[in-house]
Symmetry: C2
Subunit: 245 residues, 2 copies
């Protein structure tokens, strides 16, 4: 069933209106009729079955049943990526949202082939946020992941205690223990900041700066993963560790 996010708390038998864009999607794209049901997620991540009462440019719905069931990862994962070329950033958002990431950070690093000029940043972010929203709806998430852009040094100001850099050189040097031991330290509700390089990887000085700021360097297995694949490995492993029994 199609799912829409609304920016207000809801309860049963509450009337609500969808945004103009979502109304258009509901009525024009999905061709939903009055009397049909859709899913609505409220500000707190609660999920309701809601009936369409009025269509038109703004659709009105009424919640009927609370069907909330947690599908969020028990640990909050922030995926921070050096910006990549082409559609790789979009791929990261799309698949990463599907796989349960809570926040995405993009940053420019020394070897980033792609650069986002100041005037372009807002447009890029708008597009990436739309993708996060669409992916969250499709994969039935209870929240829409956030997407921000920062200058690389701002990463060092993080207050997140558990932090790591996915580092290819670690993998090459047969470092296969840091990632798992980091995950085993996490408990439900904890946050993890995981940093991934752009296609060109990190400069040695950057890696040194990360270690000075208590980032753990961790290899993700012996094969070389692309910039857009490594975050998927991490998120899958987190789900496997925490959600499967």
């Amino acid at each position: 069933m199609q799912r829409y996010f609304v920016k207000q708390p809801l309860k049963i038998q509450a009337e609500l209106q969808l945004s103009k864009e979502d109304s258009h999607h509901l009525i024009r794209v999905m061709r939903t009729d009055i009397g049909q049901d859709v899913e609505v997620v409220d500000l707190d991540g609660k999920v309701f079955i809601a009936e369409v009462l009025k269509s038109g440019s703004i659709a009105t719905l009424r919640t009927k049943e609370d069907i909330t069931k947690s599908v969020e990862l028990p640990v909050d994962i922030t995926i921070a990526c050096g910006i990549s070329k082409g559609d790789k950033n979009e791929q990261i958002i799309k698949r990463g949202t599907e796989m349960g990431a809570k926040h995405f950070i993009f940053f420019e690093s020394r070897y980033s082939v792609a650069r986002w000029s100041e005037p372009k940043v807002e447009k890029k972010l708008k597009r990436l946020r739309e993708i996060a929203k669409g992916a969250a709806e499709q994969s039935h998430r209870q929240l829409i992941p956030t997407v921000v852009f920062i200058k690389a040094p701002a990463l060092f100001e993080t207050t997140i205690e558990h932090r790591m850099v996915a580092y290819e050189e670690s993998a090459k040097q047969d470092e296969h223990a840091n990632f798992k031991s980091l995950l085993l330290q996490l408990k439900a509700g904890d946050q993890l900041l995981a940093v991934f390089g752009p296609e060109g990887g990190f400069a040695e000085e950057e890696i040194q700066e990360f270690t000075e700021h208590q980032f753990v360097l961790a290899g993700l297995g012996p094969r070389i993963l692309r910039a857009e694949t490594a975050p998927m490995y991490l998120l899958s492993a987190v789900s496997y560790q925490f959600e499967l029994k």
Copy 2:
């Protein structure tokens, strides 16, 4: 360093010739000069540094050093997917090769939106095999995964002992134990056949047939994964379980 696969066993100080296509890639695309080094993987998965001796339409190389280091998953994973639309099959091969799959099987199932007509099959397979080769070179695999197309019932004739179907309905019904317990039964050298539905999922009768043929139904976490994402989850989890300590 660029890597090429050859279809013969090699030893140190052996002279060899690349295929016409690989020679073109080495000389024209990568602009490699005589005297420069590349990596060559032989029929047995051994990896050598080799020096370019002659260029031209067929390049001649001489192996200098054996740098074999295993980067293959300790268990052999066969990814069998209902054929999907668009570039999803290609995505599965590309990322799945990066993540260590050994064999890919595509099959038509009841709800496959895409169909491969008989005359198209060879062309499709040729393309997918080229993608597997390119991805294996780029991700520094020691083998090129195989790609085949079969009619769905042929899956039931498999001789692979450990077999599963990634089943969304299992996940919805809070089945979170089967996949991990299957992985924990595997030991190095074992094979696992993991079957994934097309975009439209499997019909109930198909699922019943799978269970009649001793396929375990396993959920891959509580979120809904796309057809092309679910194999990535599985391969990451296998690596996390077997390669990280």
